[in-house]
Each structure stands twice: as C-alpha cells, then as structure tokens.
C-alpha cells in the first residue's frame, strides 16, 4: 500500500469535514469501547489475564528463533510447507509462485492486515490472478477500491447508505439490480455472491492471529466464518503471518484468546476461533490438498532487542484505536498507511521510516487510554515519545517547532526572565477573551483554534505566581 502518511495534516483537514465519516466515528465511540467495558466487567480475572498475556508474548519474543524453528518442524511433519520471507517483496513472490503452481485464477481471501502491509492484492492482480476479499467489510472496501480504515472493522468509516450504493453499482453484473435499504438484505446479498466465489476459488489465503509452536497450528479468529470457508473449500491454503505471531502452546493460545475477543469487540469469544494444522488428512472428506505458511519478517527482527520491542507483543485487537480521541476524530485513513491509531503511530515509522511517517507519533494527546486498554500492556505513549525523540535528533521536526522549542529553552534556562515573560504572556492572554473561559482564536495558535476552542487558564496569575502565593516549596 502506498503511504500518504507524509500528507497527514491534509488528510486530517479532509477527515474533519467529511460528514459521513464523522457520523460513522460517532457510532464507534459508543460501540466498541462500551462493549469492551461490559465484557471486562463480566470477567474478574481480566487484569491478571492481561499480565499473563504480556508475559507469554515477552517469553516468546526472547526465544523467537526457537519457537519459529519448532513451528516449522511441526508443519513439515504434517506434510505442510513453511516459507521464509525476509521482505514484503519476498512474500509477494512466494505467494504468486504458489498460486501459479496451483493454476489459480481466483483466490478467496480472508481479511489479513499482513496482506495489506505487503500489498498482495495489487501484486496478484498485476499477474492476472483475481483476489476476492470475503470478510464483509473488506469486500465492501475492495469494491470501492479503498483501504481499510480500522484493523478489525475495515469499513467502519462507511454508513449503510454508502454500502447500499456500492452494492447497487457493483452487483448489477451478478443480476442484483435493486437498491437495498435494510442491513440484513445487504448482508444476505453479499453472502449469496460470495458463496459462489468461495466455490470457484482455487486458493484460499488467510492471515493468522497466532501460530502454535507445540502443534504447528495456525489460528484464525472471525465472526463471519469466512476464514473457515477460505481454508476448507479451495484446494490450496496459504497462511501468511509475521514472525511475532508464533506462541508456544495451546494453553498460551487459551490465555491470549480470552483477552483478544474482549479487547477487540467486547465478545466473550469470537464466533469462529479455528486451529488449522496441515493439509487434508487421509479419509477427510474436505480440506485443502496443500498447506503453506509464509513467515514474514519485513523489519520486525530489527525491532527485537531495541526500546521499541514492546510493539511486537501486539495482537491486533484494535482496542487502542477504539479508545483513542485522535482516531475517534479523524478515522483510520488519515494515518495514511495500513495500521492506524496508536498502534500505527508506533509501527508505521518502524516499517516505512520516520521520514515518511514522522507525523503519526505526534498525533497523540498522550492521554494514555490506549495503554490502559491494551491487552498485552504495550506502553504506547512511551513508544510514541521515542519516535518524537528520534525525529528531533534526526532534524526531521518542522522548523517552526524547533524554533519554538529553542525559544522556550532559552527562557527555561533563565528562571527570572522566564517568570517575567510568562507573567507578560498571561496578562496578554486576558486581552483575547479569558472572560468567556475559552478562546475562539489566538495568535500563533490557529492550528488549534481552527477546529476547536482553547480553554483559558483560570484567573490568578501564572502557575509560579500561584505556587509562591500558596507558600511554594516551603509547605
């Protein structure tokens, strides 16, 4: 996927005035986060499970080579194949080669962020193979030629009416020419069309939520059942997963699944949680004849052992974006690449470079809600701060910000001058409408006041003046 992360500010300006998007985002704020809260309330062990989930992932990362080799040995023992892909390009080439070996014309795909990361669909299409997205949300945005705006709810930015228009436009060639208005009719029509596409597909491509080293199983979690149709009906099943998806045992999967479903959608358990282990066995009446797992690195091994390593614990539940005030205001597309929200703000600079994505770790209020809901306790604000520091060190920060910071540093090193200057500034602020409790416009702060009012500081002088008045440090 081509990044537009560099144009983040322009993306944001568009998003804030997009009424359909704002309508959809309003639903997001009350939907996922409220359902998560209720699910957590129903399970007293939830916080302890988060700790254990974090520990399992840390243990795995410290022994990543061992668990990947163990997983590989298991898969091979079952007659499956494991392919190692250091880069996105390697992974694309492997998948294309396998599809060609299978003589594939169409491929049924189950929603996978990894395939977005490596832009697999474009690659297959360019070589004459049609990828068909089968997750309903992913199918809708494929028809609209859009990117997902959320990692678990790819079409969350769209309203029902937009979906109805999209189906009307694209389903006519399947003989469906009536514009539908009810959600269940839209779902039923997509089901009918996609059922045929499943039957026709030569290859099924899925991601994986976890790879279990103990058994060589790849695991998938869906609510629709589309991943299971993708790995059962076509004659070849290709799993593509990044290296940090491996975990040790089935018991570890049990713990991670308990926090995953609740953090993602507020469900106790996803409707379909499936363990796939190798190709069809002797006597089986269905299942793929061949089974391949592509292990993708794409920069992850270089994150190990650094201060950014914690991000490799991520299990892609989406809770951080569901609870992020910035994501809630601008949606996923503004982030400009595959992974939006706090997760994207940390991962995107790592995967495509801080030069390209330096805006993203700055798009945070550091309110900390993302960290407070993360099922594997990733310190997302801390990791964003690391990126801000690296950006500053590498002189990538905009000159206005750098000059502003230099100016502040000049005063900060001279306390008497600082106090004087802040007193003057504080007095000046009262000229711009402190009486109303907020400012509608403020010189040098247009970036803030264009879209919202700035709360005014309470009367009574600067912090230092009030501190002194209350007895200061002597109290």
């Amino acid at each position: 996927m081509k990044s537009t992360a560099r144009a983040f500010k322009a993306n944001v300006d568009r998003a804030l005035v997009d009424t359909n998007l704002q309508q959809s985002l309003a639903m997001l704020k009350v939907g996922f986060s409220e359902r998560r809260r209720q699910a957590v309330e129903r399970l007293p062990e939830f916080e302890a499970l988060r700790d254990r989930a974090r520990d399992i992932k840390n243990h795995t990362l410290a022994h990543l080579d061992y668990y990947l080799e163990t997983f590989e040995t298991k898969v091979k023992g079952l007659g499956g194949h494991v392919h190692w892909a250091p880069t996105a390009e390697d992974a694309r080439d492997i998948v294309l080669r396998l599809c060609r070996e299978a003589g594939a014309k169409t491929v049924a795909k189950s929603k996978s962020m990894i395939t977005e990361e490596i832009a697999l669909n474009d690659h297959l299409e360019a070589h004459g193979i049609e990828p068909v997205e089968t997750d309903l949300g992913e199918y809708i945005i494929q028809l609209r030629n859009e990117a997902p705006s959320h990692i678990i709810a790819p079409a969350v930015h769209l309203t029902k009416d937009q979906v109805a228009d999209t189906f009307l436009e694209h389903h006519a060639r399947h003989g469906f020419t009536r514009r539908l208005t009810e959600r269940n009719d839209l779902v039923a029509e997509a089901r009918q069309i996609l059922r045929q596409r499943f039957q026709d597909a030569d290859v099924g491509i899925t991601g994986a939520n976890f790879l279990v080293a103990e058994t060589g199983s790849s695991m998938l979690v869906t609510n629709e059942g589309n991943a299971d149709l993708s790995n059962t009906l076509p004659r070849m099943h290709i799993v593509i997963a990044s290296i940090e998806k491996v975990i040790p045992t089935l018991e570890d999967a049990g713990t991670l699944l308990r926090v995953l479903a609740r953090s993602a959608t507020g469900q106790e358990w996803s409707s379909y949680t499936t363990f796939n282990t190798g190709p069809k066995r002797e006597g089986d009446l269905d299942g793929p004849e061949s089974y391949h797992v592509v292990l993708l690195d794409n920069g992850r091994s270089s994150v190990l052992g650094t201060e950014m390593q914690d991000i490799l614990r991520c299990i892609r539940c989406g809770a951080c974006m569901n609870h992020c005030p910035v994501y809630g205001a601008i949606g996923g597309h503004a982030y400009g690449w595959v992974y939006p929200g706090p997760l994207g703000a940390v991962l995107t600079p790592q995967l495509i470079g801080v030069e390209e994505a330096g805006n993203l770790p700055n798009a945070s209020t550091f309110c900390g809600r993302c960290e407070s809901v993360c099922p594997v306790r990733i310190p997302l604000p801390k990791l964003m701060r690391h990126w801000r520091e690296r950006e500053f060190e590498r002189h990538l920060t905009p000159s206005t910000v750098r000059q502003g910071l230099s100016l502040w540093a000049f005063f900060a090193r001279r306390p008497t001058l600082y106090r004087l200057a802040t007193r003057v500034a504080n007095a000046a602020l009262s000229l711009f409408g402190r009486a109303e409790g907020h400012y509608r416009a403020l010189p040098l702060a247009g970036g803030w006041t264009t879209h919202r009012d700035l709360p005014a500081p309470p009367p009574g002088g600067t912090f230092m003046a009030q501190w002194k008045a209350r007895g200061g440090a002597s109290r």
Binding site: A85, I140, D228, Y272
Partner: protein
C-alpha cells in the same frame, strides 16, 4: 545464505546471542512438553449440573438456541425444531458413528443423507467433540466422520451434544484433544464455534448469518 538462515540470524543478532544455549533450550523444551495451564477463570468451577447450566446460559447469550433432551428424544427434537421454524426436513448429517446411537427412523419425516454437504443443503446435523461451558462454545474436530463444511455451508446447524462432553474451560478441550490425537497433534481443523455466524461490518450493528449458519440449535443430551 537462505532466507531462513537470514531471518533466524537477524533474530539472534537482535537478541545478542547465537543459537539458544543448551541450558535455556532444556527450559523451553520442558515448557512445550508440559504446556502449563495459565489462568483459568473461576466461573468454570462447580458441579457437573452447574457446568451444563453455564453452557446453556452462554450459548443462548451468543444467539444459539438450546434444548435438553434424552437419548430417545433426539430424532423427534430435530424434526420438531425444523417444523417449528418452517425449515425443510432435508438434512445433511455427519457420517459420525456416535450419531448412530439415536433412532433416526423414529422421526420418519426427516430425509437424511450422510456425508459432506452440497451448497443447497438447508440443514446440517452433527455431533460435537466438546462444548465449552465458559463461553457456550462448540468444538468440532475434522475427520472422516465430520467434514468441516457441514459446520459452515448449510443455513441451519443442529448440533447434538452429550452433557458428558460439556467441559469447563477450553483448557479441558486441549486435554481431550491430546488424549484423542496424541501429544502435540491435532486433526486438520478444530473449529470452536460460538453461536451462529455474524457480522458487525455495517454500522457496527449485529447481523446473523454472514457466511456460516444463520441459526444454531443445540440439543443437550442426557445420557
């Protein structure tokens, strides 16, 4: 250098070590072999009857319907369910010998075909490897006696689950899988299914029957 060596080498360089030293290897080998149980929610504790009641609660919570029957009542309960819901009595049934213990001819209106389903089959009837009380989840293990497509293609899935196969948490399913298939072994597919298929992809509103079954009916059988 192969891609494999390149990736493993990069991981080891980042971890600032070579291959795992023998001592550490023995520790992780043991962890894999012993697969220690992590934290199991206390809600799964209780008597056999509590467990079955809990399964029923959570299955209904996830929009499955549940009926309790005895062995003799199973065929009639399937026929009644289909009739009540205005569904055709044409059934694709798993070729699972465990289902032979029910007297299907006692419900002569059922038209039964054993084997994997075709797309047009409206109803699937299968057994289940286990039921998980913690979440009301059914566990289906693939094999010659249970094609996976039966769990997915028909719009209605009727599941015959013996009360004795209702376990507390998923960890108890792992114990049973290892007992049946061997340590570290699994059938081609283990589906854990909780209620009918669903989607929230249009405006985050729940719709049932996205790709898999629209209806799931569970017959809990007293032995």
């Amino acid at each position: 250098m192969s891609a494999r060596e390149q990736m493993l080498g990069a991981i080891r360089r980042s971890l600032r070590r070579g291959e795992l030293p023998a001592v550490s290897r023995a520790v992780v080998d043991a962890r894999l072999r012993e697969h220690p149980v992590n934290i199991v929610p206390r809600r799964t504790e209780g008597s056999d009857a509590d467990r079955v009641a809990q399964f029923e609660h959570w299955a209904a919570f996830h929009h499955a319907s549940v009926a309790r029957v005895d062995v003799a009542g199973v065929p009639g309960a399937v026929a009644d369910y289909l009739k009540t819901n205005n569904l055709p009595a044409r059934v694709a049934m798993a070729p699972d010998p465990d289902l032979d213990r029910y007297d299907w001819p006692s419900a002569p209106m059922l038209e039964i075909r054993r084997g994997k389903p075709v797309d047009a089959d409206p109803v699937a009837v299968t057994g289940a490897f286990a039921g998980i009380a913690e979440t009301g989840t059914l566990v289906f293990a693939s094999g010659p006696d249970h094609p996976t497509s039966l769990n997915l293609l028909p719009e209605t899935h009727v599941v015959v689950l013996r009360e004795a196969d209702v376990v507390g948490p998923i960890e108890d399913v792992f114990v049973r899988l290892r007992a049946r298939y061997g340590e570290g072994r699994m059938p081609r597919t283990v589906n854990t299914v909780t209620g009918p298929s669903r989607t929230g992809d249009i405006e985050q509103q729940l719709e049932l029957g996205a790709h898999g079954p629209r209806r799931m009916h569970i017959l809990l059988v007293r032995d």
